[in-house]
Amino acid sequence: MISSEFWDYLIPGIALGALYAVIAIGYTLVYGVLQLINFAHSEVFMMGAFASLLVLTGIDASHPSAAMSVLLVAVGMLAAASAGAGTAFALEKVAYRPLRRRNAPRLAFLISAIGASFFLQNLAGKMFGHDSKSMPELFRNKKVFSVFGAQVTVLQLLILGTAVAMMLALDLLVNRTKMGAGIRAVAQDAETASLMGVDIDRVVSRTFLVGGFMGGVAGFLFGMNSQVVFTMGFAPGITAFAAAVVGGIGNIRGAMIGGMLLGIVESFSSWQLGEEWRYVSAFAALVLVLMFRPTGILGERLGRSA
């Protein structure tokens, strides 16, 4: 027998997992193209949340009408997406491209990413204050319908709907468009791709733009779900990176599966073991998966096979 509590925890778990999946895609895309852990992606996510907070506070519409709240959500999402994409773009230009030009070793990229992450995080802390803030209430977060007695709220539906739509769009983008072909080509073999006329710089820039776009939107949704603070990127960032690894880093569908898995595992462990253990179980799941499948559930695909 499945108790109703099961559903009570499954549904937030799925919503959280969808967010993790969207962030994890940002990691996995960059990893696929550059074989680089983009440590600063969590800051892209945070910047997205702050941009939407700024814009929505600026509009200052609390308790809007139904049509208005749809519009506001769209505006917030757009602000977050453009801030995320902009941050990721600038990040690549400043922290990664000069290193690539110098053919720097891989660890230098990692440290540069860590430095950029510190910088962005504390810059946001300086600009927007060090305490956490709440997003303005764009809609009443009431229950829409229930699944086996568990409530599904508007926000959860919004999160899930947006995440699924973005993931479908990304899948089409990568697999069906010319730009996607470029990304896949660079991921498979950058040198050969450049010989075939792929402009690697442009592909890398666009990859960061796409990853930043999705990360920004995820930041907005995450901010709606909890609070906006300059350190908010860290924990979800780490978990999402773990999710990308669980799914097989460089593999976009793997990131989606990994994100969902970790979100659900986290939610269930907070039910079974207590709220404070949620991250432990996520990492235990990571270690377990990697012990039996050292390259993740689906294995690496975007990246090279070695």
């Binding site: 990893y31 193209v33 074989q35 852990i37 702050f50 907070l53 700024l54 506070t57 600038a90 400043v94 000069p98 290193l99 690539r100 110098r102 053919n103 720097a104 070793p105 891989r106 660890l107 990229f109 990692l110 440290i111 540069s112 860590i114 430095g115 950029a116 992450s117 510190f118 910088f119 962005l120 995080q121 504390n122 810059l123 802390g125 300086k126 600009m127 927007f128 204050g129 305490d131 803030k133 660079v186 950058a190 450049s194 690697i200 592909v203 860290f234 773990a242 690894v245 880093i249 207590g274 404070e276 253990w277 991250y279 432990v280 990492f283 235990a284 990571l286 270690v287 990697l290 390259t295």
Partner: protein, 466 residues
């Protein structure tokens, strides 16, 4: 782009349009992109050095940009000047060239490192003795506040970095969870001295805890190492990171055992009791100095041992694994054994640092072991020059000192912003670190010349630009 122009027989409309496409428009000049980038940097700099934003007004920082336009304008003008110098300053630079070239020649001479083999450096005893004397007397010249920093921040981090250098610098295993072992060491110290809610079978003094903590960390290192040895670089990084989070959360949540977020209090100081004579560290208000000397002895011993290790069979095996694991295995290096050994040695060094830290500070909480410190130590090691002991020590000392130094000049909350910027700039202009090891320097130079890869740990980052 291409230099040749198409010889169109008749100047047809199509040919004209193709030609127009070939010649870039004035706004397509890379010059303007650079100006835009610099102006953007100017705005970021204004925000960086601007006033602290507030919670109530999220727009504060942005409003400040035009309500108090002087700093903004100053930065923008400065950036435009930089841009102008870069674009149009050719005559000026031409004049400066002889000077620069002279400096460059000297550097090149110093940097001729493509040698066969790595020669064993000669130990300069007088220099070493003088350096040692300066270090021993160092706290005498410092105010108590700086003594505390010297011991609590710098010395502890140097110990940690020296340990991490074995794992990352020599064996080439990317470890993002190094502070976990530090936590294990600190908590073992608390446990065996009876400062935790659970009582140990026998109470030990901190000196006796050191071997016990080393052993515990060694086992923890093996425990972490064993399942992860199949993993390559980045997977290893995330698993070690996960290990760190698990240790941290256990320390935080198992209140019955670790006292949870309230932390541990009353870890006894180091004490030497020989029956007829006893000496307690931190008894007489001299605490930072006494601990400094203790750490100096421990650190000196470790550095001596590690230097022996570096050039031993073990050190060479680590180098071989770092350079090419498959080739090393094919040549008969027992990779599993040596990788585990690196993990274990690094972990036990971290454990020693943990014991010293716990006794020095007396009380600590799980917040002393957050993930950021793991990341910081890694950054210190790479900043200093992975694999070179002196580089790591100096780099760590510098980077641990810098935030404390900045404290007097900038808002302490912003310290990590400057540290982050420094790391990025350092990696762009000097990825080999402050004082690179000679082997690493050689690798990097060879990579630049296209002879080999800069990083044997893995393939080079995709999308190289010539």
């Amino acid at each position: 782009m291409s230099g040749t122009t198409v010889e169109a027989p008749a100047r047809s409309e199509t040919a004209r349009r193709i030609a127009a496409l070939r010649t870039p428009k004035w706004y397509q000049n890379a010059r303007w992109t650079r100006l835009g980038g610099l102006l953007f940097a100017g705005i970021v700099l204004t925000l960086m050095f601007g006033e602290q934003g507030s919670v109530d007004d999220v727009f504060f920082a942005l409003k400040q940009l035009y309500e108090d336009p002087l700093p903004t304008l100053m930065w923008l003008v400065l950036m435009t000047a930089v841009w102008a110098f870069m674009e149009f300053g050719a005559p000026l630079r031409e004049r400066a060239r002889p000077v620069l070239e002279a400096v460059g020649a000297r550097q090149k001479q110093a940097g001729s490192v493509v040698r066969s083999g790595v020669a064993r450096p000669v130990v300069k005893w007088p220099l070493l003795a003088a350096g040692g004397l300066v270090l021993v007397l160092l706290p005498e010249f410092l105010a108590t506040y700086w003594q505390q920093i010297l011991v609590g921040e710098i010395a502890i981090y140097v110990l940690l970095a020296v340990g991490l250098n074995v794992v990352v610098g020599w064996a080439g295993l990317l470890d993002l969870g190094f502070i976990a072992f530090f936590a294990v060491g600190a908590y073992s110290s608390a446990y065996w001295t009876g400062s935790l809610p659970v009582d140990p079978p026998v109470k030990l003094t901190p000196f006796l805890v050191i071997p016990v903590a080393m052993l515990t960390c060694l086992l923890a290192g093996l425990l972490l190492g064993a399942p992860t040895l199949r993993l390559r670089g980045d997977y290893l990084a995330i698993v070690t990171l996960g290990f760190h989070e698990i240790i941290y959360l256990v320390a935080k949540n198992r209140e019955d055992f670790t006292n949870g977020p309230r932390g541990v209090i009353g870890v006894p100081p180091f004490k030497l009791d020989l029956g007829f004579w006893s000496y307690t560290w931190g008894d007489s208000g001299l605490s930072p100095k006494q601990y400094w000397w203790l750490i100096l002895v421990l650190g000196g011993l470790l550095i001596f041992l590690f230097r022996r290790l570096e050039h031993s069979r073990v050190g060479r095996a680590w180098t071989a694994i770092r350079e090419d694991e498959v080739a090393a295995a094919a040549n008969g290096v027992n990779t599993v054994k040596y990788k585990l050994m690196a993990f274990a040695i690094g972990a036990s060094t971290s454990g020693i640092a943990g014991v010293v830290y716990a006794s020095k500070i007396g009380s600590f909480s799980p917040e002393s072991f957050i993930l950021m410190y793991s990341v910081l130590v890694l950054a210190y090691v790479i900043f200093g020059g992975m694999g070179s002991l002196w580089g790591v020590i100096l780099g760590t000392a510098f980077l641990a000192w810098l935030p404390q130094f900045l404290k007097d000049y900038v808002d302490p909350k912003d310290r990590f912003m400057y540290l982050g910027a420094l790391l990025v700039i350092m990696m762009i202009y000097r990825p080999q670190g402050l004082i690179p090891s000679r082997r690493r320097k050689r690798e990097l130079i060879m990579a630049k010349e296209g002879i080999g890869d800069a990083d044997a740990m893995s393939e080079p980052v995709g999308g190289r630009i010539a």
